[in-house]
Symmetry: C2
Subunit: 107 residues, 2 copies
DNA sequence: ATGCTTGTTCGATGCTCATCAAACTTATCA
DNA sequence: TGATAAGTTTGATGAGCATCGAACAAGCAT
């Protein structure tokens, strides 16, 4: 559904952003919770609606965009609905330990 | 020199704050650089003036307070001037790997 | 077709916070 | 006793951003 949707099933992904951008993205409680739920989802794609509570759709979409642009998540389309995936491997390569330790501390 | 200065040489320290507070503290570029310089200082006390550039004294003092209240640094007085120290051990205990990996990514 | 659902975009609003200058405190030095 | 230096605090200002509702786009159902 997005205007800039690619034809195939998965968005082209941006490189993982610099540390400051990643930390800024993770410093918001709503986004931190989104990442927590993505990690709890066993690293598979999770549908949008399962990633937030208590904020409006438009706010959630804004946070998705922030996470995506920081290189933390990837967007894909399964069963016609949007899903998000934690980019564990790329993050580990670019910023070893950072996201892993944060996710661990989140339990 | 602070109004709430204890009599002895080192401030009483607050507990390490929760993950969200710590991330929020580290998400600012000025504070991130302060932490980088503290880490580069080999975990010893570093004098205030060596921890920042490009911002005013009052701004720097504000950032010091933020780091201290997040439990990331400790303030002490050596040779009559204020020093700051990275609380490596307490941070590692409260949030294993988080600050360590961030500092490592900072090199 | 018509509607319903899902997600994005836009515009507006309000709050948080980074920043500075100025005044103040304490200590050190002449 | 001044005078200077180092940090802190306060008050004000401005920018960024989290939030929402509304309008829109795309897909699926009936």
């Amino acid at each position: 559904m997005p205007l800039d949707t690619p034809v195939d099933a998965t968005d082209t992904v941006a490189p993982v952003a610099d540390l400051h951008t990643v930390l800024q993205a993770l410093a918001d409680p709503v986004r931190l919770e989104m990442v927590r739920r993505l990690a709890a989802g066993g690293d598979g794609p999770v549908r949008c609606s399962a990633l937030y509570d208590g904020v409006s759709k438009s706010t959630a979409s804004h946070h998705f965009k922030t996470l995506r642009e920081a290189g933390i998540t990837r967007r894909s389309y399964v069963d016609g609905v949007v899903h998000h995936t934690l980019r564990r491997d790329e993050l580990e390569e670019a910023l070893p330990g950072v996201v892993t330790s944060i996710v661990t501390a989140l339990d």
